[in-house]
Symmetry: C2
Subunit: 246 residues, 2 copies
Amino acid sequence: MANQLGLSIDRSSPVPLYHQVVQGIEAAIHNGVLEPGSRLDNEIDLAAQLNLSRPTMRKAMDELVRSGLLVRKRGVGTQVVSSQVRRPLELSSLFDDLTNNGKKPTTQVLSFSHMEADAATLAALQLPAGSKVYHFTRLRKVGGKPLALMENWVRDDIATMDEAMLAAEGLYAILRRGGVNFRLASQRIGAMIANDYQAPLLEAEPGSALVTMERTAVDDTGRMVETGHHVYRADSYSFEMTLVQR
Amino acid sequence: MANQLGLSIDRSSPVPLYHQVVQGIEAAIHNGVLEPGSRLDNEIDLAAQLNLSRPTMRKAMDELVRSGLLVRKRGVGTQVVSSQVRRPLELSSLFDDLTNNGKKPTTQVLSFSHMEADAATLAALQLPAGSKVYHFTRLRKVGGKPLALMENWVRDDIATMDEAMLAAEGLYAILRRGGVNFRLASQRIGAMIANDYQAPLLEAEPGSALVTMERTAVDDTGRMVETGHHVYRADSYSFEMTLVQR
DNA sequence: CTCGTTCTAATGTCAGGACATTGAGCCGCA
DNA sequence: TGCGGCTCAATGTCCTGACATTAGAACGAG
């Protein structure tokens, strides 16, 4: 591996070559092998160094440019962008985010029912009249401190669930195990004042600030899978994201 | 143009072929020629119909998949996703968003100075000690109603600006005219309670909810260009976005 | 009639080449 | 000395071809 990046490619791996390159360059950037602002060798040379074709190398670099780690300039070259880049907001659940950060969230199921959907839910999930959905509210705590109050509606023809499952793991984990491949979600983030119902549950003063989030998630077959209204304590939670110009 | 999409491509146009295809399919989806959930012809046929090679066709479809308009399933085919998809949160300014929606925002510059940056600003913009920045606060109204209170710090070695310019147009428009090509921005969205300074300016009650946003924007050379703290009236503004699973 | 196997069609990956376009620096000419 | 044109190197676009992998349908045997 006599190359600039100090990485080698395993052609027997089931991981696609271009993806190995993506991971390799990401690692090189985070390890400091590639410093922010430094120029990479040109595509042709890099491909030759790794015994890859230029399209493969280019596809890898495309992904990195899209994710904002690299910047290409025609006629000039490719540079590492000034780092400090966090990962873009991903399609995941709060539960996953917390466990990935080493936290140990607990979930308390406040209500749970399997019922016929009302008109608003039918519209949000684009379901035919008379469809049944799961409807539940959960309170999530971290370190014993309340963080989020979540109300969700989930179509019932994908996975079965009950209170015990929701108390033990995240909603998205349950759905994924039921075979759902999430593709996209539209969400809206805003703010509100804690009302008399929310405040005691979140152990906050009535009148304190809450972050609100409404989300509807779509799977790879185009089905609307779940929709929910969440509120978070503003002093404990905020949404961080990285926007990339296309 | 004997093809499924009812589009034809212009090989003499300076617009890349794959991009013409992207625009064509987007138009077909929005016009209803391609209905949500319908299957597209396979890549090979589509390419043949348009007299394109498969990689070119594929590159176009890649973009549409990334933006969430199409869904590919290996061994099966490609489908139009269930629409209802808004555009993902883009890297733009509030001013642009409002004017694009037909609104006529007005800006009132509350303070403006060109001064040496404090420690926090130096860190946020990664500037050397002693650098000077523009610092200003603006109040933005729509239809005479206050919407946002914005405080920004901008490095001064890119574009020159003054109060009059800021009152007349958006910050990003000024910077773009100065040659800045924005690449990415990291931002954090949260909530807070209006304090005694903010409430009268926004014509809101002290104690009402505000949406907060902190953003730092980076240009294509990796420079941190601007950073800002914004607050919005929660009853008038929220952040809408579409997340795409990678 | 049911279940497992095979087959097929579609996307996923990869190679190698050709030419266009752009930016920047070099060089010569006025 | 200044300025314009030229050259070169890099990315941008597009092509042809090949094989791998997968999901689903068709088919066969029990």
